[in-house]
């Protein structure tokens, strides 16, 4: 079975859980659609995390699990601002899961 989102009159392929199959399909408007599917209205704080997660993936070819995400973001924004609680508040169903989905990245490995 094929799964997809419709965006700009085009079909964008996803997996069954709604993660994009091709990171290159992503753009800012698609992020809004993906976010609304998660019941999240993207604030500036959300965008900061989503952009960070996407940049991390592009730089390291791997999605950051929650601890790695906190550690990497703290290095950039400082420990006062970033904590796992802060990320959890922005992405209640799990920052690693939801932020990667909205950032157009593949579903994180089940290994964790």
């Amino acid at each position: 079975m094929d799964y997809f989102l419709t965006h700009k009159d085009k079909k964008v392929a996803t997996d069954k859980a709604g993660y994009l199959l091709d990171v290159e399909d992503w753009d800012n408007e698609l992020a809004l659609i993906l976010a609304s599917g998660e019941g999240i209205e993207l604030s500036d704080e959300h965008w900061e995390v989503v952009t960070f997660v996407r940049d991390f993936y592009m730089e390291f070819n791997t999605s950051p699990a929650i601890r790695a995400l906190v550690k990497a973001m703290q290095m950039k924004y400082g420990p006062d601002k970033i904590s796992s609680r802060y990320l959890q508040r922005l992405f209640p169903k799990g920052p690693a899961k939801q932020a990667t989905k909205i950032a157009g990245l593949p579903k994180p490995a089940k290994c964790l």
Partner: protein, 119 residues
Amino acid sequence: MSNSIAIINRSAPYGSSHATESLDLAMIAGTFGQDISVYFFGDAVFQLIEQQKPQTKGVKNLSKVIKSLIFFDVENIYVCQKSMQERSIQLSELCVDATLLSNDDLKASINKHSRIMVF
């Protein structure tokens, strides 16, 4: 010492799945707060070459993945000096700031661990 983990990599990247699944394991060990050391030995030193450029979509650039280890709390990265020399690789060609170990240091370092895995 009691529960420290050593992962000895000795396989070249891309030709087999050893490198990929070994790195997955290292990341999870780090994430679980284990005391972990990762060794690059024999052909595995090729995993550390900075200038890797996979040409196939869906094949991850392992040098990039190795660079991310630090965020997964994998901080002890060691590379065998002899293996580098044998393959005429310079330290400047590596993608991370790995600790270069002489043969004696390599032995001593590995011997500190009680859980040793080879990939």
